[in-house]
């Protein structure tokens, strides 16, 4: 759908991540993962819980380093977290309870070199974009879950990163709110005015992945490896096509693929002893 530039935005080459575990010795979270994500691509990563999806996202965001292999952003190795490169959205929102909405968004800017006098305008822009105008002075405990995640998204967008990394952003929201937010996120992705145009999202809902993504990367059970990398070439906007047989076929295909590889049965968390 989109023309692929020569240097991919994000690239992983044979990435392994292992943890030392006092009880079991070495635990491999992800094993030999290679893929690349181009600019203006929306990629969803799906997989059973505990398969290393979050580890993968954290490596892309520079929060975690691969034990072996390497991660690249625009052809250069990712040295560490850099908000200008990729900003993150969390399932638990990760808002600071003692700050107002405005201050929470400002917090993201404090780590960047945006001069102080420019911050109010930027914040106002994204507050408006996420429909938070009436809540700038509220604290997180006064907001609903959906509103909190809007703050989370606004905070991430305000630093105007190249990549938006989302870790199950909608799974602690109710279905209706999640649907609205999904459309909002797609709108931002399509919005030429925002600088952020490459989106990576983790989810465990197949339908959600098919609804949003250009490509779905399917991970296996722990240790996570790529079992499929499926382009979703359904027409957009997909909200007009969710009743199409093609949509259901795509979902069914992915589900069959996953159940063939052992299903999405939730694994017991490895004992952290």
């Amino acid at each position: 759908m989109k023309s692929a530039p020569k240097i991919p935005e994000l690239e992983l080459k044979h990435v392994f991540r292992e943890y030392a575990d006092p009880a079991k010795g070495k635990v491999t979270a992800i094993s030999d993962i290679s893929f690349h994500i181009n600019e203006h691509e929306f990629v969803c990563i799906v997989g059973p819980s505990g398969c290393g999806k979050s580890t993968l996202l954290r490596i892309l965001g520079g929060l975690d380093m691969p034990s072996r292999g390497s991660a690249y952003f625009r052809g250069k190795p990712i040295p560490g977290p850099d908000p200008k490169m990729g900003a993150m959205i969390f399932q638990t929102f990760a808002l600071l309870p003692w700050l107002t909405v405005y201050e929470n968004i400002e917090l993201g800017l404090q780590g960047t070199d945006v001069p102080k006098h420019r911050r109010p305008d930027i914040i106002k822009k994204y507050v408006h974009l996420m429909d938070l105008d009436d809540f700038v002075d509220s604290h997180p405990y006064e907001l609903s879950g959906g509103m909190k995640q809007r703050v989370g998204i606004a905070r991430a967008l305000a630093v105007e990163p190249h990549v938006l990394l989302m870790d199950e952003p909608f799974s602690s929201l109710d279905a209706m709110t999640a649907e609205t937010l999904r459309n909002d996120v797609l709108e931002i992705w399509n919005d030429p005015k925002t600088k952020t145009n490459t989106f990576v999202m983790i989810t465990h809902l197949i339908d959600e992945a098919v609804f949003m993504a250009d490509r779905v990367i399917v991970l296996s059970k722990r240790p996570g490896t790529i079992i499929a990398d499926v382009p979703i070439d359904l027409p957009r906007p997909r909200s007009d096509h969710v009743r199409d047989p093609e949509f259901f076929e795509m979902c069914d295909m992915l589900k069959r693929l996953i159940s063939y590889h052992g299903g999405f049965e939730v694994q017991p968390e490895p004992t952290k002893k």
């Binding site: 954290r58 600071l96 309870p97 917090l107 604290h139 299903g263 049965e265 004992t271 002893k273």
Partner: protein, 665 residues
Amino acid sequence: MAAAEGNASGELLKNVDLAEPVPDELMKKIRHRHAKKHVGRQKKSKKGEVLKVAMTAGGTQMWPSVKVPAESKPSPPPPMQPLIRFGTLEKVLLIIAAATFISFSYFGWWGRAFENPETASLPYYVLRTLARMLAAYALVIAFSVPYGIIAGLYRRPRQIMLPLLDIMQSVPVLGYLPAAVFLFTSALPNFQGFELGYEVAAIFLIFTGMAWSVAFSVMSAVRNIPNDLREASNAFGIRGWLYLRRLVLPCIVPSFITGSILAWGGGWYFLVAAELITYGATPHSLPGIGAYLGNAIFKYNNVPSSLLGLVILISVIFTINRTVWRPLSAYAKKFRLQTMDTQIFTETSEPAFIVKLLEKAGFIWDSIDAALKRASRLSASAMRSLHLQIRYVPKRRRHLPLPWYKSGIIYVLMFGAVMLLTAHFFSAALVQPLSDLMHSMSSHPEIINLPYFALRSMLRIGIAYAIALCWTLAAAILITRSRFLSKIFFPLFDIGQSTPALALFPFMVLVVIRFFGSGELSVEIASILLLLTGTQWYLLFNIIGAIRQIPGDVLEASRAFGLRNWKFYRSVLLPAIFPGIVVGSIQAWGGAWNASIVSEYLMFEGHVYSIPGLGSFLTSTVNSPNPDPWIITLTVGMMTLAILIMNGLIWRPLFAIAEHYKFEG
């Protein structure tokens, strides 16, 4: 639906010892259930896998059960561990022992230490002290757990019980001393050299050092039980003993253990004062390590023997912390309701002896359980026959807290009652008639200085608090950032927290006099140093706890947004630990007031070192030949009042603000 089925298979598993091979019949049932749930999806599964799946389903319990079978390890059974592993505990103890031995030999102190006639019976003293502490702790369990549960569950009793607990906690531990001694020595006989009266008095004093923190933590744990769980149990008709056993007791386990650790620390801290009862004409000492320490310093002036006693006491405390409290608090984590994902700071521990012992002792618990269940059923049927049915009445409105003037009146009344009772106890204990209050005050004109003394003490505590806050903040941040540092320093802090204050004071005075001369200034400095020992640990442990409570996501978010160094501390870390600082400060000020009694007045080698303050006034009044009960009561009351006022005016409002600084679930 799925959850219900899952629970059912969990029930099936619950009756099975997981270390044993699963019977075929059960396997079939599990497989059958499992197959029904995922028609055609699952490929052929191996034995272990099916078990694993069923286990997970069983793991979705509504609340933590007491035995926690679902989380215990599945097959294969873990390899047998050696009885004694050469771990940190053994290493540290060995180092301490070696250091003691070498330094004692080097300085030639062994001979001097054994000049103290009591040194030979030290092992026996340790046993006696342990027995005393255990007896006090048993009393604490018997008193504080029911008290906390009742005050936590029911609103009306709480309106009385909470202020009472607040006041009781604010009365300094040593304020109970004369009353305890009189009550128990006159009521209980001595037989064959075993001084039952003094023994019970000492146990009671240790009890007063332990009880309140446990009661408070149990109460707040009961109040913090999520409403969902309460309503769920009410909806399923779970009442009476079953309600306690299935909901309340498991929910209070973590707080109870934390409270117990604090309580034991408090007990150790006042051990010398409890065993070496200095009241009346002659100090009375009981066989015990605390009294040994006190006697070594005050009676024999034998520094080497007191050092030896200190080393042994520290080893005992350290061993208990490592073999009992550390594993128990790790075990208690299984009962936590929300497990926050803090990957960055995780502790590791192997299943410890005490935990195994607890699991082995399950049959005792089961029999108690059965007996109480029967009792509960009997009482229920008795009540039914009397038409006194306990019914669950749905809440109609949210209970608002009492208006301030009403709770103020309750506080004033309770305070008055407690003080009146105290005065009566003192007068009985001192065999002094309780004279007219006015008469007492006019015959002791120095009582007019009481507010001044309180101010002096408060100033001193304030300085100690400021110092403590500064260094603990820095230390907590450093320690939580490095696993290595925490491994080294945690044992040290454990020991420091529970080293008896009285045993340290003479050393501090001696050392400080060396450097600052024997003026009042050096006593001030020594006093502040001693106050530090009573304040800093509360702050340190609470701040460390607060840092560990910061959700992993929040830390990652701040890293992802490039917040580093000062920006991170100012915008994230300091606000996040603010609740911990407030809670720690409340405890620290309470501990400091308690310590101030023993830190302002010292009689050592025939010399009195004293500085103006409530503590020195109280001590000198009690030690005077003709102590006036009202004067003592007024002093104790002044101190209690100072604590209550500070709590009400400073800490309570800060605590309310801190509520908004807490991370959600």
